[in-house]
């Protein structure tokens, strides 16, 4: 466990952006107003799958007030190529096809054309005057249907990749891969108990409160200026440049405050379209999505079908595990089944494993990341089966997990061997928590547990520091701040410099003002950007020591820095006093840090939940909920707890009510926050948190990202709790009242 003494890390200073946020002064994307600003509206496909026969924009162009109309025909035509977005490679044609459909529409809500006008109402009316002739095609909405031989094909050019090799087969299966470890048949032969089930999870949306918004000015000098709400300014820059076929240096992206993303604000939707409208009209153009646009036109996270089979010996050892996982990619390949397959058995040390993954396209919006993408679906299956195995073996569910927990040296089926991890410590913290041993009385009540893993991401981050004469330091970073990361990054610089967190002013900069920084995703900001800040602070320290040495006419190597005081021999000077003397010792001091960690050291989490089920209505009330997570080192514990509570709340929503309710012809029927039933404050108990600290050996402060692993266990936790309350196991998400009631009725006969 983390034992090192720190002055700043582990404290709970007020966040730097707090005052602006609580007083409503913070500037979000939709707050941008430029002289001559036009409003944009997007025409979206009413069909889930159709050929575009003809688009006639003349009636829209003729409407007074309309300044520009664009379709896919306005996009640059260039060779298709592979684009690296930091979180995976994507063909340019898919990125381009998703921002404006060409040839075919692949889901209801697919953008087809866009209009810019002096007012939003005119733009919307003009959009409705665009005549699009469609030839509707049969649509396919689920993985199992899409995998059938006779399924309608979404992409004529999509050939299945099988075990890493391109086949000649055109199908909706973009990829089939396999991870193998040991010998599963031998493993199952050794098992005394085998449990096997099929699980399904619905398509769900991240549900960030702020809709996507982008304002773009295609300037007369050819520069394209973008203001938007994004998780990654550099991704927006690079993707926009690719789609528009201009060099990245032509695009400057200014990220504004962001009202939630959870992975859903990594893809680019509006920026290239607003850019085209701006180019045509010569004026800045803003496009802001409605909630319906967000549900129908941006990436939810995949629905899935997962079959898990696990076998254990009487002594409680899991000896074999097998998973078959098919995830819905939506309209374009990239279903997050890769990460799902890496995580499916990641919490356990199992000698014999086979995992088959299928990335399947269907006529739904192209899916995007959502907090530990792919892992929650997988854990729902695995942790339900593990619970059943424990019961069959007559073992306490946490003892059983502890006995099989992954540790340093455990090899995952997809290859890597774990460095020091905190799986065991998380399970022990669950076991020792008073919640686990508290009596649970009353009818229809049950307690469930589950654990989960997310590997987190490294990737590039940059940071610069400049020292002010008053002893404060300005910090410039490129990571948009979603979860309080300005503060957790600033604190790491402050710790190195020996000054207070409030003495560092963090600023999230535009893409011209800071070095390349990958997305705010993969729980990487406190880890990687924090590391860059650590490096930048070391750079400052090195220079400051030279300045002290100069003043003291001594060797810089003899100068030390301890708790903000420079010393050499019997001379000393505070950071603040030295900062005031930079002018006379050589001028300003700036420090820089740039890192590109290849791995991140994963995070484990676990939940304990008590539920009460109304057997007559099937409604599940969560009475008590405890979340445990390994943070490596909790830089700012309050924000770690906030992440754990947020992930738990989203996981509870995913478990109990959230889903894309599709009509047979592929229309989402609940595209509003009224009917998409995310939990409200009244649906959640107080979520208790326990931070475990098993330092990450590769990070200077031992940090592990904490943004994601916490969403992984909740659905399985609640499924297990519902089982212990009612005696029925639900294997399909959401476990909404009708589903729970029907399961109870069928048990009762």
């Amino acid at each position: 466990m983390s034992t090192q003494e720190y002055a700043v890390l582990g404290t709970r200073p007020v966040r730097h952006d707090g005052a602006d946020k609580v007083t409503g002064r913070a500037i979000y994307g939709a707050d941008i107003h430029l002289a001559g600003l036009l409003q944009g509206a997007i025409l979206r496909s009413p069909h889930a799958h159709a050929r575009i026969v003809r688009i006639d924009t003349r009636r829209a162009e003729a409407l007074p007030g309309v300044k520009a109309v664009v379709t896919a025909a306005d996009l640059a035509v260039s060779q298709d190529r592979i684009v690296d977005l930091g979180e995976g490679d994507t063909p340019l044609s898919y990125l381009r096809g998703n921002v404006l459909a060409s040839g075919k529409v692949l889901y209801k809500g697919h953008a087809v054309a866009a209009v810019a006008a002096a007012s939003l109402h005119v733009a919307e009316e003009a959009a409705s005057l665009i005549d699009v002739e469609y030839e509707p095609l049969p649509c396919v909405l689920t993985t199992l249907d899409a995998m059938r031989e006779d399924a309608p094909i979404l992409h004529d050019g999509l050939r299945t990749t099988e075990f890493g090799e391109k086949t000649g087969r055109v199908s909706n299966v973009a990829e089939h891969f396999r991870h193998e470890l040991g010998d599963v048949s031998a493993g199952f032969a050794e098992a005394d108990v085998v449990v096997e089930h099929e699980f399904r999870t619905a398509t769900v949306h991240q549900g960030y409160i702020e809709p996507h918004t982008a304002t773009v000015l295609w300037n007369n000098d050819g520069r394209i200026l973008v203001w938007c709400s994004t998780q990654g300014a550099f991704v927006v820059r690079d993707v926009t440049a690719c789609i528009l076929d201009v060099p990245v240096s032509r695009v400057k992206v200014t990220p504004l405050e962001i009202g939630g993303g959870f992975g859903g604000k990594i893809p680019v939707y509006l920026e290239p379209v607003a850019a085209l409208l701006s180019k045509k009209s010569g004026r800045p153009v803003k496009i802001t999505m409605t909630r319906r646009d967000v549900f129908e036109g941006t990436g939810p996270t995949p629905g899935s079908v997962i079959r898990v089979k696990m076998g254990a010996r009487k002594d409680g050892r899991i000896v074999a595990a097998q998973a078959w996982m098919a995830y819905e990619a939506g309209a374009y390949p990239g279903a997050m089944v890769g990460p799902g397959a890496m995580c499916v058995f990641a919490a356990y040390d199992i000698a014999n494993v086979v995992v088959d993954g299928f990335d399947v396209v269907v006529n739904k919006p192209s899916t995007a990341a959502y907090r530990a993408p792919g892992a929650t679906n997988a854990a729902f299956a695995t942790e339900s089966v593990v619970d059943e195995l424990a019961e069959k073996l007559g073992l306490d569910p946490l003892e059983f997990r502890l006995k099989n927990a992954a540790r340093e040296g455990t090899r995952r089926a997809d290859g890597p061997k774990y460095p020091r991890i905190g799986c065991v410590e998380v399970i022990e913290a669950m076991k020792n928590h008073p919640h686990y041993s508290a009596p649970l009385e009353g009818p229809n009540r049950g307690r469930g547990v589950a654990i989960g893993f997310w590997f987190n991401a490294g990737l590039p981050s940059s940071c610069t520091l400049s020292v002010n004469a008053d002893g404060s330091v300005n910090l410039v970073e490129g990571s948009t701040d979603i979860g309080g990361t300005r503060t957790s990054v600033a604190m790491q610089a402050a710790e190195v410099l020996g000054i207070g967190a409030e003495d560092v002013r963090p600023e999230v900069a535009d893409t011209d003002s800071v070095g390349f920084t990958a997305v705010t995703g993969g729980s990487r900001v406190t880890f990687a950007t924090g590391w860059a800040a650590y490096e930048a602070a070391q750079d400052v320290v090195r220079q400051m020591k030279e300045r002290a040495a100069k003043l003291w006419e001594t060797d810089a190597a003899s100068v030390t820095l301890d708790h903000g005081v420079f010393r050499s021999g019997d001379r000393s000077m505070t950071f603040r006093d030295l900062a005031a003397r930079l002018g006379e010792t050589g001028g300003p001091v700036t420090g820089r840090g740039a890192v590109n960690p290849r791995s991140a050291g994963g995070s484990f989490s676990g939940c304990i939940a008590d539920v009460q089920v109304d057997p007559e209505t099937g409604k599940v009330d969560v009475l008590r909920f405890t979340a445990v997570q390994d943070a490596g080192k909790a830089i700012h514990p309050a924000y770690v707890e906030g992440q754990m509570q947020g992930g738990s709340a989203q996981g509870i929503g995913w478990a109990l009510n959230e889903e894309y309710h599709m009509s047979p012809d592929g229309a989402m029927q609940n595209a509003s926050l009224l009917d998409y039933r995310m939990p409200t404050a009244l649906d959640l108990p107080m979520i208790d948190t326990v931070i475990v600290e098993v330092p990450n050996p590769i990070h200077p402060f031992g940090v592990r990202g904490v943004g994601e692993a916490n969403i992984v266990p909740p659905p399985a936790t609640l499924a297990n709790a519902i089982y212990h309350a009612t005696g029925v196991r639900l294997r399909s998400l959401p476990m909404n009242p009708p589903a729970v009631a029907e399961a109870i009725w069928s048990k009762e006969g």
């Binding site: 209505t617 009510n657 009917d675 649906d683 009708p738 009631a741």
Partner: protein, 288 residues
């Protein structure tokens, strides 16, 4: 949403002429249904008649004829009203059930009824309480009982140029009680998957009379006369309650949609009717 014109007449006659002059006009009370529907493109109009400034549509008054609730009086005024709280506690609870605090500051019972949603929470209780609608139009005034007001999803009996002025609820009989029970998957901010309103009058451990109505299980709010009638004269016990609950379930004609499957809704009708009756009985016992 396209442009529209707006007027806010201050009398019933002013509203009548505004509506006569604008055949495509729509009436605005709290706007918590109308504005949402217009924004979503589900309703269009070129003229809005805001009725909130008309005194008759804003009053809440109790006298020997019972309770008069102006059609556009917002929910918060209902539950804050001393007579409503004392004599119609079920109505006060209902007003506090619709939406959250912000919505209750605007949303009206009249708007809830005129919107004619099968799921409207106020309607089953109004039916159970035996409420009548006072309607005004160019041809004069008329009265319609609430159970006959809604005719199809989103459609009501109002003819061109007609509007709802107020609702009239008879004075509560001694030994009476009422309650509306809805089921929503979340604890707030949701549309009834099913709902049941019940009123009872008790006498010597027996039901003198009862009225039961359901939400969200038919194209309109559904008055199940036979379920209430079956209780008349029966002893107040579990068996009678279950019988009425089963009759309500059998009368339901729900559909399957994104909010719930039909069979689930049907079963809920029995559960909710039983729960509504049980609560109404408790209230009636306190009202002797």
């Amino acid at each position: 949403m396209k442009w529209f014109d707006y007027s806010a007449p201050e009398s019933v006659s002013g509203a009548i002429s505004a509506l006569a002059a604008h055949p495509r006009a729509r009436i605005l009370a709290g706007g918590t249904d109308l504005l949402v529907q217009m924004r979503a493109g589900r309703k269009e109009t070129d003229f809005i008649v805001d009725v909130k400034r008309i005194p008759e549509l804003n009053e809440i008054r109790y006298d020997s004829d019972g309770l008069t609730v102006g059609a556009s009086a917002p929910c918060y005024r209902l539950y804050a009203h001393a007579d409503v709280a004392a004599r119609y506690p079920s109505l006060a609870r209902l007003a506090a059930l619709i939406g959250g605090t912000q919505i209750q500051g605007r949303a009206s019972i009249g708007g809830n009824l005129c919107n004619a949603a099968p799921s409207a929470d106020a309607v089953p209780l109004l039916i159970a309480l035996g409420a009548r609608c006072r309607i005004a139009g160019q041809a004069g005034e008329r009265e319609v009982v609430v159970e006959e007001f809604c005719t199809a999803p989103g459609v009501n009996v109002l003819g061109p140029g007609e509007f709802l002025v107020s609702l009239l609820i008879p004075p509560p009989a001694p030994g009476s009680g009422a309650h509306y029970e809805r089921f929503i998957p979340r604890n707030e901010m949701d549309i009834a998957v099913a709902g049941a309103g019940a009123s009872v009058v008790l006498e010597d451990g027996h039901f003198r009379s009862a009225r039961i109505a359901l939400a969200s299980v038919a194209p309109t709010p559904l008055f199940v006369r036979e379920a209430g009638d079956a209780l008349a004269g029966k002893p107040v016990n579990e068996e009678s309650i279950n019988e009425a609950a089963n009759l309500a379930r059998d009368a339901a004609r729900p559909i399957s949609d994104m909010r719930a499957p039909a069979e689930y809704r049907r079963r809920l009708c029995a559960v909710l009717t039983r729960r509504a009756l049980t609560r109404a009985i408790e209230e009636a016992r306190g009202n002797r």
